[in-house]
Amino acid sequence: MLHTVNKSPFEKNSLESCLRLSKEGCAVLLFEDAVYGALKGTQLEATVVEALKSKKMYVLLPDIEARGMRAEDVISGVQTVDYAGFVDLVAEKATVQAWL
Protein backbone atom coordinates (compact mmCIF):
# COMPACT_ATOMS: atom_id res chain seq x y z
CA MET A 1 0.00 0.00 0.00
CA LEU A 2 1.09 3.55 -0.80
CA HIS A 3 0.24 6.49 1.43
CA THR A 4 0.65 10.00 0.04
CA VAL A 5 0.89 13.16 2.15
CA ASN A 6 0.86 16.67 0.63
CA LYS A 7 0.37 18.99 3.62
CA SER A 8 3.06 20.51 5.81
CA PRO A 9 3.44 18.55 9.06
CA PHE A 10 3.78 21.89 10.88
CA GLU A 11 0.37 23.03 9.70
CA LYS A 12 -1.69 19.84 9.61
CA ASN A 13 -1.52 16.50 11.36
CA SER A 14 -1.81 14.50 8.10
CA LEU A 15 1.69 13.03 8.34
CA GLU A 16 1.25 12.23 12.03
CA SER A 17 -2.06 10.42 11.36
CA CYS A 18 -0.61 8.65 8.34
CA LEU A 19 2.33 7.29 10.31
CA ARG A 20 0.12 6.31 13.26
CA LEU A 21 -2.44 4.49 11.14
CA SER A 22 -0.32 2.78 8.49
CA LYS A 23 1.13 -0.70 8.60
CA GLU A 24 4.71 -1.89 8.72
CA GLY A 25 6.20 -2.39 5.27
CA CYS A 26 4.02 0.21 3.58
CA ALA A 27 5.32 3.09 1.46
CA VAL A 28 4.82 6.75 2.32
CA LEU A 29 5.39 9.43 -0.30
CA LEU A 30 5.74 13.09 0.74
CA PHE A 31 5.08 15.76 -1.90
CA GLU A 32 3.99 19.41 -2.22
CA ASP A 33 4.15 21.06 1.26
CA ALA A 34 4.65 17.68 2.96
CA VAL A 35 8.27 17.66 1.77
CA TYR A 36 9.14 19.86 4.75
CA GLY A 37 8.65 16.74 6.85
CA ALA A 38 11.50 14.96 5.03
CA LEU A 39 14.16 17.51 5.94
CA LYS A 40 16.99 17.20 8.43
CA GLY A 41 17.13 19.45 11.46
CA THR A 42 13.44 20.03 12.11
CA GLN A 43 11.41 19.06 15.15
CA LEU A 44 9.88 16.30 13.02
CA GLU A 45 13.13 14.54 12.21
CA ALA A 46 12.99 12.05 15.08
CA THR A 47 9.44 11.02 14.12
CA VAL A 48 10.48 10.32 10.54
CA VAL A 49 13.64 8.46 11.57
CA GLU A 50 11.46 6.28 13.81
CA ALA A 51 9.02 5.60 10.96
CA LEU A 52 11.88 4.58 8.68
CA LYS A 53 12.51 1.55 10.90
CA SER A 54 9.33 -0.10 9.67
CA LYS A 55 8.21 1.87 6.59
CA LYS A 56 9.63 3.01 3.28
CA MET A 57 9.61 6.76 2.88
CA TYR A 58 9.89 8.70 -0.36
CA VAL A 59 9.94 12.40 -1.19
CA LEU A 60 9.35 14.18 -4.50
CA LEU A 61 12.59 16.00 -5.40
CA PRO A 62 11.13 18.76 -7.64
CA ASP A 63 9.00 19.89 -4.68
CA ILE A 64 12.10 19.92 -2.44
CA GLU A 65 14.06 22.01 -4.93
CA ALA A 66 11.22 24.43 -5.56
CA ARG A 67 11.27 25.28 -1.84
CA GLY A 68 14.97 26.10 -1.74
CA MET A 69 16.18 22.78 -0.35
CA ARG A 70 18.36 20.12 -1.99
CA ALA A 71 18.55 16.33 -2.02
CA GLU A 72 21.34 16.50 0.58
CA ASP A 73 18.98 18.23 3.02
CA VAL A 74 16.75 15.15 3.10
CA ILE A 75 16.93 12.78 6.09
CA SER A 76 19.06 9.78 5.13
CA GLY A 77 16.90 6.76 4.47
CA VAL A 78 14.16 8.84 2.85
CA GLN A 79 14.46 8.14 -0.87
CA THR A 80 14.09 10.97 -3.39
CA VAL A 81 11.99 10.30 -6.49
CA ASP A 82 11.18 12.30 -9.63
CA TYR A 83 7.75 12.45 -11.31
CA ALA A 84 8.37 9.14 -13.13
CA GLY A 85 9.28 7.57 -9.78
CA PHE A 86 6.00 8.85 -8.31
CA VAL A 87 4.09 7.17 -11.14
CA ASP A 88 6.03 3.91 -10.65
CA LEU A 89 5.11 3.86 -6.96
CA VAL A 90 1.41 4.38 -7.70
CA ALA A 91 1.51 1.72 -10.43
CA GLU A 92 3.25 -0.94 -8.34
CA LYS A 93 1.02 -0.64 -5.27
CA ALA A 94 -2.45 -2.16 -5.22
CA THR A 95 -3.98 0.78 -3.33
CA VAL A 96 -3.19 4.42 -2.62
CA GLN A 97 -4.39 6.34 0.43
CA ALA A 98 -4.13 10.12 0.08
CA TRP A 99 -3.87 11.97 3.41
CA LEU A 100 -5.16 15.35 2.31
Binding site: S8, F10, E11, Q43, E65, R67, G68
Partner: protein
Amino acid sequence: MDGEGGVIKKFLYVNRKAPYGTIYALESLEVVLIGAAFEQDVSLVFIDDGVYQLKKGQQTTVDSGIGVKDFSKTYRALEGYDVEKLYVDKKSMEMRGLSTSDLNVDVEVLDDAQMADLMAQQDIILSF
Protein backbone atom coordinates in the same frame (compact mmCIF):
# COMPACT_ATOMS: atom_id res chain seq x y z
CA MET B 1 -2.61 60.83 -0.87
CA ASP B 2 -2.32 64.64 -0.85
CA GLY B 3 -6.00 65.24 -1.62
CA GLU B 4 -7.04 63.02 1.29
CA GLY B 5 -4.89 64.80 3.82
CA GLY B 6 -2.20 62.11 3.72
CA VAL B 7 -3.39 59.95 6.61
CA ILE B 8 -0.85 57.20 7.12
CA LYS B 9 -1.99 54.00 8.80
CA LYS B 10 0.01 51.07 10.09
CA PHE B 11 -0.58 47.99 7.94
CA LEU B 12 0.59 44.54 8.98
CA TYR B 13 0.63 41.60 6.59
CA VAL B 14 0.70 38.26 8.42
CA ASN B 15 2.11 35.38 6.35
CA ARG B 16 1.58 31.87 7.72
CA LYS B 17 1.65 29.59 4.65
CA ALA B 18 4.42 27.81 2.75
CA PRO B 19 5.08 29.24 -0.74
CA TYR B 20 3.95 26.74 -3.40
CA GLY B 21 1.41 24.29 -1.94
CA THR B 22 -1.27 26.98 -1.88
CA ILE B 23 -1.66 30.40 -3.53
CA TYR B 24 -1.75 32.41 -0.27
CA ALA B 25 1.92 33.43 -0.23
CA LEU B 26 1.89 34.76 -3.78
CA GLU B 27 -1.43 36.54 -3.24
CA SER B 28 -0.11 38.21 -0.10
CA LEU B 29 2.90 39.50 -2.01
CA GLU B 30 0.64 40.85 -4.77
CA VAL B 31 -1.45 42.74 -2.22
CA VAL B 32 1.68 44.12 -0.53
CA LEU B 33 2.89 45.44 -3.89
CA ILE B 34 -0.47 46.99 -4.72
CA GLY B 35 -0.71 48.48 -1.23
CA ALA B 36 2.78 49.96 -1.59
CA ALA B 37 1.37 52.46 -4.09
CA PHE B 38 -0.63 54.07 -1.25
CA GLU B 39 2.47 54.95 0.80
CA GLN B 40 1.32 53.53 4.11
CA ASP B 41 3.40 52.31 7.05
CA VAL B 42 3.79 48.65 6.09
CA SER B 43 5.21 45.71 8.04
CA LEU B 44 5.35 42.04 7.05
CA VAL B 45 5.60 39.18 9.52
CA PHE B 46 6.37 35.56 8.75
CA ILE B 47 5.00 33.00 11.20
CA ASP B 48 4.61 29.19 11.11
CA ASP B 49 5.18 27.82 7.57
CA GLY B 50 5.29 31.42 6.34
CA VAL B 51 9.01 31.51 7.17
CA TYR B 52 9.55 29.07 4.30
CA GLN B 53 8.55 31.84 1.87
CA LEU B 54 11.91 33.48 2.57
CA LYS B 55 14.09 30.37 2.13
CA LYS B 56 17.13 30.96 -0.07
CA GLY B 57 17.75 29.04 -3.28
CA GLN B 58 14.24 28.20 -4.51
CA GLN B 59 14.38 26.47 -7.92
CA THR B 60 11.07 26.28 -9.72
CA THR B 61 11.89 26.38 -13.44
CA VAL B 62 10.14 24.06 -15.88
CA ASP B 63 13.45 22.30 -16.64
CA SER B 64 14.51 21.44 -13.12
CA GLY B 65 11.40 21.80 -11.04
CA ILE B 66 7.69 22.30 -10.64
CA GLY B 67 7.37 24.85 -13.45
CA VAL B 68 5.94 27.87 -11.66
CA LYS B 69 7.20 31.41 -11.06
CA ASP B 70 9.84 31.71 -8.33
CA PHE B 71 8.46 34.75 -6.52
CA SER B 72 10.94 34.56 -3.62
CA LYS B 73 13.15 37.09 -5.44
CA THR B 74 10.35 39.65 -5.17
CA TYR B 75 10.86 39.92 -1.39
CA ARG B 76 14.30 41.35 -2.15
CA ALA B 77 12.70 44.06 -4.30
CA LEU B 78 10.30 45.25 -1.59
CA GLU B 79 12.65 47.88 -0.21
CA GLY B 80 12.41 49.59 -3.60
CA TYR B 81 8.74 50.15 -2.72
CA ASP B 82 9.58 51.43 0.78
CA VAL B 83 8.48 48.16 2.34
CA GLU B 84 11.44 47.58 4.63
CA LYS B 85 10.06 46.13 7.84
CA LEU B 86 10.17 42.34 7.66
CA TYR B 87 9.86 40.28 10.84
CA VAL B 88 10.21 36.56 11.49
CA ASP B 89 8.83 34.63 14.44
CA LYS B 90 11.78 33.11 16.29
CA LYS B 91 10.04 29.90 17.37
CA SER B 92 8.64 29.15 13.92
CA MET B 93 12.09 29.55 12.40
CA GLU B 94 13.90 27.43 14.98
CA MET B 95 11.30 24.66 14.92
CA ARG B 96 12.02 24.27 11.20
CA GLY B 97 15.78 24.06 11.69
CA LEU B 98 16.31 27.41 9.98
CA SER B 99 18.31 30.51 10.90
CA THR B 100 18.49 33.98 9.37
CA SER B 101 21.41 32.81 7.19
CA ASP B 102 18.94 30.51 5.39
CA LEU B 103 16.77 33.47 4.40
CA ASN B 104 17.21 35.58 1.26
CA VAL B 105 16.29 38.93 2.84
CA ASP B 106 17.27 40.83 5.97
CA VAL B 107 14.70 40.32 8.70
CA GLU B 108 14.28 41.17 12.35
CA VAL B 109 13.68 38.12 14.52
CA LEU B 110 11.00 38.59 17.19
CA ASP B 111 10.19 36.57 20.28
CA ASP B 112 6.60 35.89 21.38
CA ALA B 113 6.19 39.09 23.38
CA GLN B 114 7.72 41.29 20.67
CA MET B 115 5.45 39.76 18.03
CA ALA B 116 2.40 40.36 20.22
CA ASP B 117 3.48 43.97 20.74
CA LEU B 118 3.95 44.52 17.00
CA MET B 119 0.46 43.20 16.28
CA ALA B 120 -1.05 45.36 19.00
CA GLN B 121 0.43 48.51 17.43
CA GLN B 122 -1.30 48.10 14.04
CA ASP B 123 -4.26 49.92 12.52
CA ILE B 124 -4.97 47.24 9.92
CA ILE B 125 -3.96 43.57 9.89
CA LEU B 126 -4.24 41.48 6.72
CA SER B 127 -3.78 37.73 7.20
CA PHE B 128 -2.68 35.18 4.62
